[in-house]
């Protein structure tokens, strides 16, 4: 390194400017420039995408579009069935995944004693996060539809989604449980409560923020998922009640977007769905940050 002058503020001596000092200053300026440039690119891309979709899509998000189903006879397009299908899938997959995930986290954090077991379960959950959605879709089709004999529908789709969101729920619940001071637990046990009672009345309620954050993240993942649902939930665009849709081909919003754009060439409907998805993503993101901050405050 060049010779230095130790000063309280680290700057280069700008009175006498030998060659390498200039070169260093240039280096710093270029580096800063690059940093700003790349960040601008990242943020710029985001703004462009959000803007482009909203500008082209919001005008097609009309009330008829949102509240009716597509009709060949009337030659109209409506995405209400797809909104309902997405809601059905959120409901059913959360109903299954939340208890399973919270239970697993409680086990890992409160009850487990065998280190090997804990590592195995955590490794399994981590592995699940790395698997691509299309592989989940493939396995979902093989297991739930071919093996279990379900038909393409909301049930098979939701079960596949459970595999995808389980790690998220386990991880966020675990983090939240870890952040609860042991004093809470010791206090409750000292007052004579049993372990399960302690978990139920003291630990879990305090972990609520984390569980809610995890749920919002999971819902975000569900809303955005498409490859896993193609062959498990199907491409159907008709409106069904919750019960009927379990075993009937039901396209979620994302799959509907794919169908309308790629297979039917209906760009307007595509933009409308994209705008709706964008709005939902923004909303969920905002909610997750809000609850995440509440958790951090504690």
């Amino acid at each position: 390194m060049s010779k230095t002058t130790a000063t309280t503020t680290i700057t280069t001596n700008s009175d006498q400017v030998p060659f390498f000092q200039v070169r260093r200053k240039l280096y710093n300026i270029i580096v800063r420039g690059f940093l700003r440039l790349t960040t601008l690119v990242t943020v710029g891309l985001l703004i462009f995408m959000i803007g482009y979709i909203l500008i082209n899509g919001l005008k097609h998000l009309t009330i008829p579009m949102l509240t009716t189903q597509s009709s060949y006879i009337e030659d109209t397009i409506g995405i209400f069935p797809n909104i309902m299908n997405t809601l059905y899938m959120i409901l059913i997959s959360m109903l299954i995944a939340l208890p399973l995930g919270i239970g697993a986290a409680v086990y890992l954090n409160e009850y487990a004693t065998n280190r090997r077991l804990v590592t195995t379960i955590e490794f399994a959950a981590e592995t699940l996060t790395g698997i691509p959605s299309i592989v989940f879709g493939l396995v979902g089709m093989l297991v739930f539809i071919h093996l279990f004999g379900l038909k393409q529908g909301v049930l098979a789709g939701s079960l596949t989604l459970v595999m995808i969101i389980l790690p998220t729920i386990i991880r966020t619940t675990q983090e939240s449980l870890k952040s609860i001071p042991d004093d809470y637990r010791h206090g409750s046990l000292a007052l004579g409560s049993g372990k399960w009672h302690m978990v139920r009345t003291v630990v879990l309620p305090s972990a609520m923020d984390g569980i809610v954050t995890g749920s919002i993240l999971a819902i975000g993942r569900i809303v955005g998922e498409s490859a896993a649902l193609l062959f498990t939930a199907g491409f159907g665009l008709r409106l069904n009640s919750l019960f009927k849709s379990l075993q009937r081909s039901s396209a979620s919003l994302t799959v509907a977007l794919y169908v309308y754009v790629s297979e039917r060439g209906e760009m307007e409907a595509g933009f409308a769905i994209a705008a709706l998805l964008m709005l939902i993503t923004l909303l969920l993101n905002f909610a997750a940050t809000y609850f995440g901050n509440k958790l951090k405050k504690r």
Binding site: S71, I73, E263, R264
Partner: protein
């Protein structure tokens, strides 16, 4: 005791509702149709009307391509297979029969900016097999981008058999549905593609070519002068006893009421037996 009583009462109530429903003899149940993507509009409009008339019937349509549709009809995964081509000999030999529900033309489409309006059948074949590669031969410019369908498509099968270019197509893009081909040609100034005529109606950005001077209209398809055409077939097992709602649906699709719906979907209703 109270719980048991209320449970029994509920059970009886449920049973009575179920009995009441079956006592009505309305058509109910599900019909699974599988197959050609070109037939999407036709099946869509017919099943929509049928479901309005018979609210307890649920008809599902899976766009899997003609090849898979025929296989589904054979192995029972679908009640009705949909094929946008005639059945092959082996398929008939395996015990399938086909019922023509409509005739459909395969439109040859180019981008609206393309200077060409008409091609002969031979020129179309040569373009798709790569013998003619540039629009310059027709007064345009740029290389020709051939956009077609994937391997199992009935539309591709129909196109290739009529143009006699089986397995010899040089495609720049192989898309999985009629709609996708239309979108691709509309966004590519040097594109040429083939798509079901029922799907090209009213689409923007593309132009439908006349073949040997013949326009792709319903009339010309019906009287056979538009050469590139194929039947829309319903495929069922020969001699099988079809469930009530399936048979009723098939009868509906072949009836006179269905004809204007088929026309609205852009295809040509088959000639009615009683004239």
């Amino acid at each position: 005791m109270k719980k048991l009583l209320s449970l029994i009462l509920t059970a009886i109530l449920c049973l009575s509702v179920m009995v009441g429903a079956t006592a009505q003899e309305a058509l109910s149940g599900s019909i699974a149709t599988d197959g050609s993507t070109s037939m999407e509009k036709v099946i869509g409009i017919l099943s929509e009307q049928f479901m309005i008339d018979n609210p307890d019937v649920a008809i599902t349509y899976n766009a899997t391509g003609s090849g898979t549709g025929v296989a589904a009809a054979l192995n029972g995964t679908a009640d009705i297979g949909l094929a946008s081509r005639a059945l092959k000999e082996e398929e008939v030999a395996q015990g399938l029969k086909s019922i023509v529900v409509a005739l459909d033309g395969i439109a040859i489409i180019v981008n609206e900016k393309c200077p060409v309006d008409n091609l002969t059948l031979q020129e179309v074949a040569d373009i798709f097999t790569g013998k003619i590669t540039s629009w310059k031969d027709f007064g345009g410019e740029g290389d020709i981008a051939c956009i077609g369908r994937e391997a199992g498509s009935g539309t591709r099968d129909g196109f290739e058999s009529i143009t006699k270019t089986k397995d010899a197509n040089k495609l720049v893009q192989e898309l999985t549905s009629t709609g996708a081909v239309i979108t691709a040609v509309a966004s590519n100034a040097s594109g040429i593609g083939y798509a079901s005529s029922s799907a090209v109606e009213g689409q923007e950005g593309i132009k439908v070519l006349t073949i040997d001077g013949v326009e792709c209209t319903e009339e010309n398809i019906a009287n056979g002068s538009y050469l590139i055409q194929r039947p829309f077939n319903l495929v069922v097992k020969e001699g099988a006893e079809l469930p009530k709602q399936v048979q009723a649906f098939i009868d509906f699709m072949l009836s006179e009421e269905a004809a204007p719906l088929v026309a609205k979907a852009g295809a040509v209703p088959p000639a009615q037996p009683e004239k």
